[in-house]
């Protein structure tokens, strides 16, 4: 009898797992269950749809034929619970789907508003294709919109609403943007560009409540008592892994579903991958959460290999994200210590917990107009980097961080006043690459 593979979730982790399973167990029955009617699309791409850079149909990486070729049994439904005794899933419509091996790739969703009035029509979060479409419909020219939160998604929302012609107010709880990741100059760089676009930034501003009439949002009331009239309030205060299924089934959870290096949970034949999985890292002895697309894809591949019976360890790479912040390409790699960020109640989008770990480091900065590199130097290696603007050195630096390359030879020069950091790095990289081989 053939094995029944069941995947919950049509995000990148679920799809990567389905592709991998199909390649390694060609004849297997693979069922993919997702409640999202839009199926598989680029979630990070939603921001570019919002700003109008791409039309919504461009968000779908795989054609209908390509997905059909995977020969999946695709069920569009919400999974209500897992019956671990009977090894079957119970769907919202009470259908039962048996499994031999189950992958939970249920992702994360935006944290709900943490103030009264969050249920009013007009208060929105950005998770899905439908969320983005509805937001575009609401965002009429001249509409007043308030954005609250931090991290990448908040700025993407502010820029997206601005691009759609809205008058945007961006509320920050503290003195600056993304204070636990960016340094003061980097925050100012981003804020300056948002202001130049016409986005109004309100500092030290907390929402007391969202105010409405007849169930519709009309204004935001701040803790100082000011009312900002608006029809849209976009909330991006962090994300939360979708743990309901795992919790009710008795899987061990912490902030995410706890999984070992093979992406196995504590319950036999159940695996977890993507934003929902909190994966053990033997190097640090800790289990970490990521909300990163490439990590979710890699989890999906590794989980599927193990489900198919080919043992594979998930090799955690240094967390890295590349994004546009206020129009500037920005790469964030590795450990970038920092203070607490009042605008986030949970891990931010496109963020990774390891970036926030603080280690003793020196900071070296090289600036060129809006090109900026910040390196976090440990005693022997580079621990983290933030590269804004020109990305030429992003890949080399990432490789050096990944490999924990010994930089003691240039460390003192990097730290010397007026050091030409770019030239030093470039020369070091050229020699290092010659000795260690090109980027694969």
């Amino acid at each position: 009898m053939s094995t029944d593979y069941v995947i919950v979730g049509s995000g990148v982790a679920g799809i990567a797992a389905a592709e991998t399973l199909r390649a390694h167990v060609p004849g297997a029955t693979i069922t993919l269950i997702s409640e999202d009617p839009a199926g598989f699309y680029s979630r990070p791409g939603l921001a570019y749809y919002l700003t109008g850079v791409i039309p919504d149909k461009q968000l779908f990486p795989q054609s209908a034929e390509a997905l059909r070729a995977l020969n999946l049994k695709w069920i569009q439904a919400r999974v209500e619970r897992i019956d671990t005794q009977a090894c079957c899933l119970v769907l919202a419509d009470k259908r039962r789907v048996p499994y031999d091996r189950l992958l939970l790739a249920t992702g994360a969703r935006a944290a709900a508003p943490d103030f009264p009035g969050g249920e009013l029509d007009g208060v929105v979060t950005l998770d899905t294709y439908d969320d983005a479409r509805r937001l575009v419909q609401r965002a009429r020219r001249g509409t007043h919109a308030v954005v609250v939160g931090g991290g990448i998604t908040a700025v993407e929302l502010a820029e997206g609403l601005h691009a759609r012609g809205c008058h945007v107010h961006y509320l920050l709880r503290g003195a600056r943007y993304w204070a636990n990741l960016l340094d003061a100059e980097e925050s100012e760089l981003i804020e300056g560009r948002l202001r130049a676009d016409g986005i109004e930034i309100h500092y030290h501003t907390r929402i007391r409540q969202a105010v409405g009439t007849g169930g519709r949002l009309t204004a935001v009331e701040t803790e100082s008592g000011t009312q900002i009239p608006c029809k849209i309030l976009a909330v991006a205060i962090g994300t939360r892994p979708r743990l309901e299924l795992a919790r009710t089934a008795g899987l061990t959870t912490d902030r995410g579903i706890l999984a070992d290096q093979f992406l196995k949970t504590n319950v036999p034949n159940i695996f977890a991958a993507g934003d929902v999985a909190q994966v053990y890292d033997p190097l640090t002895g800790q289990a970490t959460l990521d909300t990163l697309w490439p990590t979710a894809r890699a989890h999906g591949v590794v989980a599927a290999m193990n489900m198919a019976g080919t043992p594979m360890i998930y090799q955690r790479t240094v967390a890295a994200n590349v994004t546009l912040l206020a129009g500037l390409p920005t790469t964030i790699i590795g450990v970038l210590g920092g203070a607490n960020d009042d605008d986030l109640v949970a891990i931010a989008r496109g963020n990774s917990e390891t970036w926030l770990a603080t280690v003793p480091t020196w900071v070296v900065v090289e600036r060129h107009d809006v090109n900026r590199i910040r390196l976090m130097l440990g005693d022997r290696a580079i621990n983290g980097a933030l590269i804004i603007g020109d990305q030429t050195l992003a890949r080399p630096i990432q490789r050096l961080i990944d490999a924990q390359a010994d930089i003691t030879a240039i460390r003192a020069d990097l730290l010397a006043p007026g050091a030409d950091v770019l030239a030093l790095l470039h020369r070091f990289w050229t020699e290092w690459e010659a000795a260690h081989g090109p980027v694969s």
């Binding site: 990148v12 990070p44 791409g45 570019y48 039309p55 461009q58």
Partner: protein, 85 residues
């Protein structure tokens, strides 16, 4: 050292690129947004190459650089055929 975005991105001469260059993706940077495919004047599905981790090997590719320049995440770059960086 000054950074001129264009000179760094397009550091091979046009003729050189046409003759010996190709567009190569760096898959871990890619989030499959599809801006590359959307802007390809020939309608090549550049994004699918990035997902597969393969260079854009289609003989119709003009190496015009639209995808390289427009990718918001620096996923794509020119490399000499046979080189991985």
């Amino acid at each position: 050292m000054s950074i001129d975005r264009n000179s760094l991105i397009f550091d091979l001469t046009r003729a050189d690129v046409l003759a010996t260059g190709q567009v190569v993706p760096d898959p871990p940077r890619c989030v499959q947004c599809g801006i590359c495919s959307y802007n390809c004047p020939l309608g090549l599905d550049v994004r699918a190459y990035a997902w597969a981790g393969e260079s854009i090997a289609d003989s119709r590719c003009l190496t015009c650089g639209q995808c390289v320049a427009r990718c918001p995440r620096g996923v794509l770059h020119f490399a000499r055929i046979g080189e991985s960086i």
